[in-house]
Amino acid sequence: MSSEEYPITDLLITGTEINYLFICPTKLWYFAKGITMEQENEWVDLGRFLHEQRYANEEKEVLVGSIKIDFIRRGDTIEVHEVKLGKSMEKAHEMQALYYLYYLKKLGIKAKAVLHYPKLNETKEVTLDGREGEIEKAIKEVERIKSLPAPPKPVKSKKCLKCAYYELCWV
């Protein structure tokens, strides 16, 4: 797959959507349709709180087109920073960061990403190098799921127990 496939003007999906794709397609569908859960918001609040405490001096919530980056550091290369609560969804976080890098690359900006896990006192670096295909596949899949007339059938897993959509999915 060539990386010419997605001109920047077609990249309308958000980082959260890429993230949710790797958590659960059902959740992605509901979220993309604006059907969100209030616990989700509390969770976001907690994230924001952690964020504000710890990264008070950074350039925060930087909006670039359809993506919103937690914060950015400018040095020799631009660093995209994402703050996450726990590591159980690591793959999803990584793909979200990759998507940002892919997006920025389209704009001609070379960057690398750093995932922060303040509660665990850990960071993880992510670079795009050669992973364009992976992210393009993910973008395609997000678009496919969003275009479905009804949400994909939920699949019960351990994730569901902590998911804000639990009641909606299983009632």
Binding site: K33, G34, I35, P149, L168, W170
Partner: protein, 326 residues
């Protein structure tokens, strides 16, 4: 922190100073932790400052107002923060498509009726109701117009009331269900509870992406949250009717808790207090949910009903109204 409903029965003023909300009356000034408030129910004569309203709007807290009789007057429903264009369209689609609308309307009536049946069995006054109901439900399935659905509903209700009375103590018979103004104690009590239940449902809908004014059994109204009326059909028997019955059979309420006015019977302040505290208790009671395999409060069941409706609208699963298993 679990958010709670705040009920104001006494007269006073609700205002904001800095980041605190206060309620002040002749007994003093009380700070209210806004973060812990889910919604507010006002029965007293309360003055609210616009700053307080701004603050409540910002926090997404609805405020429901009740009149002298304890009947619902209206709500301060903050600008909706949860929106889903997609869901709005589907809600409208299910209204505009006659078959789809009829289906939902029938389901609300059916759920309501089965909950009434459940009550009569519990109270051991079923007395042929089930047989009568089977026939009425069959008629319901054949109903081709909303007016026909409504008509069947009225007949079910009538059959229900006539038996329910058999379980109520002397002096608290419903006899004839009257609404505004209520003619006797039991009618006053049921109306009072139904009003509160309706407002509770409005609050729950506020916390979903459902548009409260697009409904199926009741005509969508500009000035009332008619979807809350639809949902209240399901919950009236299992919340309001049961509670009303318990309050009078267990003698928690007596004639002294009512007073007669020119326009009918109403609960006294003491009576309202008693009823509202029992109502809160009732809604925070948990039951084990058979599908979710979790304990959920009775209040949460209202939210779950809204979720089931959302799933019906987006085409995941056909709506099946809650029939009390408890």
């Amino acid at each position: 922190m679990r958010k709670r409903s705040l009920t104001l029965l006494s007269d006073g003023t609700l205002f904001r100073r800095e980041n605190t909300l206060y309620f002040e009356n002749e007994r003093g000034r009380k700070p209210l932790a806004v973060e812990g408030i889910y919604d507010i129910y006002i029965y007293g004569h309360v003055t609210i400052t616009s700053q307080a309203l701004h603050y409540l709007a910002q926090k997404g807290i609805s405020v429901h107002f009740f009149n002298h009789y304890g009947h619902y007057d209206g709500s301060f429903y903050p600008r909706e923060s949860l929106n889903s264009g997609d869901l709005v369209i589907r809600q409208a689609e299910h209204y505009l498509d006659r078959e789809k609308r009829l289906k939902l309307a029938r389901l609300f009536v059916r759920g309501s009726a089965l909950n009434m049946e459940r009550n009569l069995r519990r109270w051991k006054v079923n007395d042929g109701f089930s047989e009568e109901l089977r026939e009425l439900l069959e008629e319901l399935e054949g109903a081709r117009k909303i007016t026909e659905v409504m008509n069947v509903e009225a007949r079910i209700r009538e059959a229900y009331y006539s038996r329910w009375d058999g379980h109520l103590p002397e002096g608290f018979k419903i006899v004839k269900r009257t609404r505004r103004p209520p003619e006797n104690e039991m009618n006053a009590l049921i109306s009072f509870l139904n009003s509160r239940l309706y407002a509770t449902i409005v609050s729950e809908l506020y916390n979903t992406q459902l548009v409260p004014t697009v409904s199926y059994l009741h005509e969508p109204g500009e000035r009332r949250f008619s979807l809350a009326l639809d949902l209240s059909e399901i919950f009236k028997p299992i919340v309001a009717d049961r509670l009303a019955t318990r309050l009078v059979t267990k003698r928690m309420l007596s004639k002294e808790h009512f007073r007669e006015e020119l326009n009918g019977v109403l609960l006294t302040k003491e009576g309202m207090k008693k009823v509202l505290s029992e109502y809160e208790k009732e809604l925070t009671k948990s039951v084990k949910h058979p599908e979710l395999k979790r304990n959920v409060t009775k209040k949460r069941l209202i939210r779950l009903e809204a979720y089931k409706l959302i799933k019906h609208l987006v085409g995941v699963k056909e709506y099946e109204p809650l029939v009390a298993w408890f």
